[in-house]
Amino acid sequence: MSVEFIYPEFEVIRNTDRCIACRVCERQCANEVHSFRKEDGIMEADETKCVNCQRCVSLCPKRALKIIKSDCTFRENANWQNDTIKEIYKQANSGGVLLSSMGSPKPLPVYWEKILINASQVTNPPIDPLREPMETRVFLGKKPKKIQRDENGKLKYELPPQIELSMPIMFSAMSYGSISYNAHASLARAANKLGIFYNTGEGGLHEDFYCYGDNTIVQVASGRFGVYEEYLRAGAAIEIKMGQGAKPGIGGHLPGAKIVGDVSRTRMIPQGSDAISPAPHHDIYSIEDLCQLVSSLKEATEYKKPVIVKIAAVHNIAAIASGIARSGADIIAIDGFRGGTGAAPTRIRDNVGIPVELALAAVDSRLREEGIRNYVSLVVGGSIRSASDVVKAIALGADACYIATAALLALGCHLCRTCQSGKCNWGIATQRPELVERLAPDTGSKRLINLMNAWRHEIKELMGGMGINSIESLCGNRLMLRGIGMTDKELEILGISHAGA
């Protein structure tokens, strides 16, 4: 205690008039906050362990619990704020790099909130999605420069490999290991039912999920965990992960404690060994090396599967994307700096990279200036939070969006941001069997399907309002967007006018 003591962030408030000491909270809390005092039959709480995941609150049958932010604070200081001081204490205590989970909670600019969507009035009609067809189907993949005809003048219908999405959203990469078997099962089943895709992340593909291969994107990251021929062939597309929005420029580290049983087998590494993904791919030190990896993966899968290159949104993103578009890749995925993570160094997560809105606009504009926008499809993520974010992203120039945090929220995540502890009470970011079983894939997939259906309805309504009845006519249609409260420079980069202009 003494100098090392940091006052708990949360307080557990128990209404003793309501509490019946059923001990559900005690059983549900993997952090061991709650305990039962036998002598007098009263529930106690050790709030130093509480992460505010809301599990006990949600499951208390008597609604006797609430978690509130502690009002014990340091003396107010605009420069040295509470969090900043606490981080210094933590580092003085441990000497370590601060770790965080999920997307940055800092008040970073969210440009989606400064962009407004158009609607038709008078000069052309809005379209009612309940009465008229409204199309959300998207094909991702390279579009050839020129049509081809055979000797009889008939069009040749062959195209480079494409993946077909019933709506322009996919579940973004989250590895088996960082999230649970049941979380993966939920994502895979939902993607299958919805006609979209989920992404294995860098942890390989569990043998039970090969049956969902047609709705799976298999990832090849710098650690190459679980990558072998059958794995590459199992998916509908292959994603090379060059970077992640939450931690551009660094790799990953899944602690040995999580490399157990199936995770170890799926990653093809020994039980208990740390799974360390290097910062770079050690066979890619330059753009021409990426080109070779793209070619190798295409060779291995007989040119039948599109290759996605996923990059973190960084300062020189437009030029990098232009290089990737010419590297033979079919799809570029851009991950913005508000994107989520299972664990990332706090300083990197909160300070490295750029917002996905600006990255997307810059890349889309650059590829068009160079006349190569149709060489690749663009997918963006980090962070897409709603149907209107999706519509704005597509109008800025994306072909589809990746969502991950939104999908985890649908599965029960309460954004307590302590995934790195491995004690997720919602059965998502954990490998403990007794926690994993709390997430039932039947319920999980149903909730993901609900979420996507709800968003699909909203996307259709927004499109209909603009008089657009097919998502491809929204792609890059920046005239449908206006900015509010932005500088001229921001508007220029986004390629949109200010509201009223």
């Binding site: 049509i147 069009l155 068009r368 491809e472």
Partner: protein
């Protein structure tokens, strides 16, 4: 106030067209008259016509119709043109002074052919060179505007009601085997002569009624291929799309129609003709950014024919009729009845269903 091109102006409209299947030439008077019963579909801020087969004596030369702000601009532009073209004829386009049409710019036409040496130097096909030159003048030469650039065809347009524009340009003195016409109802600005329809590039001309909701998606895609949408009008971008799909990509008219007014995926999936199903799946996947949504009815004119097309939901009126060797297309049946009181087989093409009429071989 901002000029056309600096701001996007939605418009409502009237369109009409006539073509002789046998290639018989008709005076421009008939199409001028066709616009009279549709007077209320325009608001006096733009009208225009395109005639095909009107310059048989210069049919091997590109007929460049141009607006100039003043004489000095014309002189500068002529210097530019002479470095690139052999000009066989240069003249003021004949007009008639009428009270309904005022503030006209300098209206000129040149019959010209690109210099062979220039083409060889640039390694460009003739049409590509002419298209790029037109694009360059319209985007970069202030006060000069090419509004027609095809062979043996010409566009005539102005700010005014279409029937007055026809009178102004003395259309009764021209004879063509096909004509298209347009009356414009822009929602704001006094209108600009260049902004009236038809919009043309090479021998493509488009008259269009509607406001497309896919505009910026289409524009930003087509501008990758050297086109510059300087006017910010739907008609301009549709013209470039058709030029790109047909001339540059080599699609047929009906294939191009299937790109811009593609059938719904449900319709494609329901097709029992597998060949047709594959074709439509291919075209939609190949050219997603060229799908046009929102209301439109267009008539595309080209050497030897016309194509009429509605958006896939048919959000704009358009009817077709015929009589003997002539086919009529208009926003309203009244316009067809004016051209031919006894027109037969009047029907409304379905959304996305192209009506393609070609003059029979050798007749033009």
């Amino acid at each position: 106030m901002k000029m056309e091109g600096q701001v996007r102006i939605p418009s409502g409209c009237a369109i009409a067209a006539i073509i002789s299947h046998d290639g018989n030439r008709m005076s421009g008077e008939i199409i001028t008259n066709a616009m009279k019963p549709m007077h209320d579909r325009s608001n006096g801020l733009g009208g225009g016509f395109a005639g095909y087969g009107i310059y048989p004596e210069h049919k091997d030369f590109y007929a460049l119709h141009m607006f100039f702000d003043d004489r000095a601009t014309r002189k500068t532009c002529e210097v530019f043109l002479k470095e690139r073209f052999e000009i066989v004829k240069s003249e003021r386009i004949p007009t008639r002074k009428i009270p309904a049409i005022t503030d006209e710019p300098v209206i000129w036409r040149y019959f010209a052919a690109p210099l062979k040496s220039v083409l060889a130097n640039l390694q460009l096909a003739e049409k590509e060179f002419v298209a790029r030159t037109v694009m360059k003048i319209n985007a970069e030469m202030k006060g000069a505007y090419v509004f027609s650039s095809g062979k043996n065809m010409g566009t005539f347009k102005a700010v005014g009601f279409p029937e007055d524009v026809g009178m102004f340009y003395k259309l009764e003195e021209y004879e063509g085997y096909s004509w298209t016409a347009h009356g414009r109802y822009p929602t704001n600005t006094p209108g600009w002569w260049g902004g009236a329809h038809p919009f043309t590039l090479l021998d493509w001309s488009i008259v269009h009624n509607g406001e497309i909701s896919s505009y910026d998606a289409n524009r930003r895609f087509i501008e990758m291929f050297g086109y510059k949408c300087t006017l910010q009008t739907d008609t301009e971008v549709i013209t470039y799309i058709m030029d790109y799909l047909i001339r540059v990509q080599g699609l047929t008219l009906s294939e191009a129609a299937s790109v811009i007014a593609a059938p719904f995926w449900n319709t494609i999936e329901g097709k029992t003709d597998l060949e047709d199903k594959h074709k439509h799946t291919y075209l939609r996947t190949m050219f997603p950014s060229l799908l046009i949504t929102g209301p439109f009815s267009i008539v595309l004119g080209f050497n030897g024919g016309l194509m009429a097309l509605n958006d896939r939901l048919k959000l704009r009126s358009m009817v077709v009729g015929e009589k003997d060797d002539r086919i009529f297309i208009a926003s309203e049946e009244a316009a067809i009845r004016t051209m031919e009181p006894n027109a037969e087989n009047i029907w409304a093409p379905a959304g996305g269903e192209p009506v393609i009429i070609k003059v029979k071989d050798g007749a033009f």
